[in-house]
């Protein structure tokens, strides 16, 4: 079947609307009577378990490329003693949170879209409504708030593992010993850099989860459409992660909170 041009445009428009409506619905229901504590706990554990392995693999990959780049330029310019400074700085400020955000969107965000979309498809959301249970409150809010807590924690683990794997690979490939790496590694690292990157992770977790849930929540159609919606969830959330990162970058430069 040939895809009509404006059909694709309409689908993206609908996706955009779903997300905006979800922002409204979320803010409305967040402060209404019952707060879903139990579901929040369940979703916290679930997002931690789902995100952990993927994000840790991402941390090791970061170690790989930072060690390679750092080692290469360190070699060329004879600046081994500054490799530690450069890599920890970039891990804490940019790469770790970017990687964690993208992998979280890919692993946990898409899972939310598929899960809530298929609940909608099979009538489970309607069943909840008919029992006077608001799906935003029962399904969406716990997932979003759990993600706000989970992503910074996973990001912190990722920081540690990324630095450790950079050290290991530098030693393996370029013979940079741990003491040399560590000598200046944390010299310029201000607490505000770490705090800001954790806040950034929390905000990424928030929007990734909220967008993913919104796309699932307002989903209509069958299996083919659910596949397309899931793709949109991934694309939109990747863009969100990049943009949030960019906005923080600008804030940091303007205020001087995160610069050396």
């Amino acid at each position: 079947m040939p895809v009509k041009k404006n059909e694709a445009a309409n689908e993206w428009l609908y996706a955009g609307k779903s997300i905006i409506f979800m922002y409204g619905s979320f803010s409305y229901w967040l402060f209404k009577d019952m707060f879903p504590y139990r579901q929040l706990g369940e979703q916290f554990i679930r997002t931690m378990l789902e995100g952990f392995a993927t994000i840790m693999v991402g941390a090791v990959v970061q170690g790989l490329f930072l060690a390679w780049l750092g080692g290469y330029y360190g070699d060329r310019f004879g600046a081994y003693i500054w490799i530690g400074t450069a890599t920890t700085f970039s891990i804490f400020r940019e790469t770790s949170v970017l990687m964690a955000g993208i992998l979280f969107a890919a692993r946990v965000g898409t899972a939310f879209t598929v899960e809530i979309g298929s609940m909608s498809m099979s009538g489970q959301l309607d069943a909840l409504r008919l029992m006077a249970v608001e799906p935003t409150q029962h399904i969406v809010i716990p997932r979003v708030l759990a993600s706000v807590i989970t992503l910074p924690i996973l990001k912190a683990f990722s920081d540690g593992l990324a630095i450790f794997s950079t050290m290991v690979f530098l030693k393996m490939w370029f013979g940079v010993s741990f003491p040399i790496f560590l000598e200046h590694a944390f010299e310029f690292l201000k607490p505000s850099i770490i705090t800001l990157s954790l806040i950034k992770a929390g905000i990424m977790g928030f929007f990734v989860a909220l967008n993913a849930c919104g796309l699932g929540y307002y989903f209509t159609g069958g299996a083919v459409e659910l596949g397309k919606t899931t793709t949109k969830s991934t694309v939109i959330n990747f863009l969100y992660v990049m943009i949030i990162d960019l906005i923080f970058g600008i804030i940091v430069e303007l205020t001087g909170w995160g610069t050396v």
């Binding site: 099979s122 009538g123 489970q124 309607d126 409504r129 008919l130 029992m131 006077a132």
Partner: protein, 249 residues
């Protein structure tokens, strides 16, 4: 009593309901028959307040749900239980948790009381042995029965069934049919069933309404509907023979 008056609902260019009238009598089983994609589920979703119609009125015991506030809507909805197409059980919960869900969520009863009620309804649908199973582990017919128990647990006055036997083999269909009949006669439920299963209709209907082209085009009692010259018979049984004949069989 449920009264639907001049109901319109469309999705974009697709006009699904076009001035539909329907009356559902208390303590009777009304069956709406119509072919797939004609708008049976849309009708049920409108009547249960899950979908807002474009225009028209829907009175449930005299209250118009199309104009009700949210609080009022919730109150009216508490009179309604629904068996969704395919059951719509929560995949992540066990059979027991599924049936207990509405009671537990709203903390209406103590744990002991909840357990007693859940077991009572699971026994009515003969699913008490499967309390710890997940919906994914059950057959279509079993899932349907658990969904009936879940719809019953809040003791609604009205019970809506969306194609209760679709996709079931004749044996499971018979079991579900008997369940519906039992609830109908023992608990005096007012049932509204949408289906295209003519055997189910013959077995449980008190009244039969024919949904065609966005409207109810005929409403007949069961005794009438299955006689040779009824409209329902004409549209639903003779049509099949006619289509066969047209194709030379």
């Amino acid at each position: 009593m449920i009264e639907v008056k001049n109901l319109y609902k469309s999705f974009g260019e697709n006009d699904v309901l076009k001035g539909l009238y329907l009356t559902v009598e208390e303590r009777k089983a009304t069956v709406v028959i119509g072919r797939s994609g004609i708008g049976k589920s849309v009708l049920l979703r409108c009547i249960s307040g899950l979908l807002r119609p474009d225009s028209g009125e829907i009175f449930i015991d005299g209250d118009d749900i199309t104009k009700a506030s949210r609080a009022k809507l919730l109150k009216i909805r508490s009179k309604i239980g629904m068996l969704f197409q395919e059951g719509a059980l929560f995949d992540s919960l066990t059979v027991f948790e599924n049936v207990a869900f509405p009671l537990a969520y709203h903390q209406l009863y103590s744990e002991v009381e909840i357990e007693r009620k859940v077991m009572k309804y699971l026994e009515i649908v003969e699913m008490e042995k499967f309390v710890d199973a997940y919906p994914g582990e059950l057959s279509g017919g079993m899932r349907r029965k658990v969904a009936i128990a879940r719809a019953m647990i809040l003791e609604p006055k009205y019970l809506f069934y969306d194609e209760p036997t679709s996709g079931l083999d004749p044996y499971s269909s018979a079991v579900v049919e008997i369940m519906i009949k039992k609830l109908q006669s023992e608990l005096n439920i007012t049932s509204l069933i949408v289906t295209h299963d003519i055997e189910l209709t013959r077995f449980i209907a008190d009244y039969i309404a024919l949904l065609e082209n966005g409207k109810i085009t005929a409403m007949e009692s069961r005794d009438m509907a299955f006689t040779e010259d009824s409209l329902v018979y004409e549209h639903f049984i003779k049509r099949r023979e006619r289509i066969r004949a047209e194709n030379g069989y």
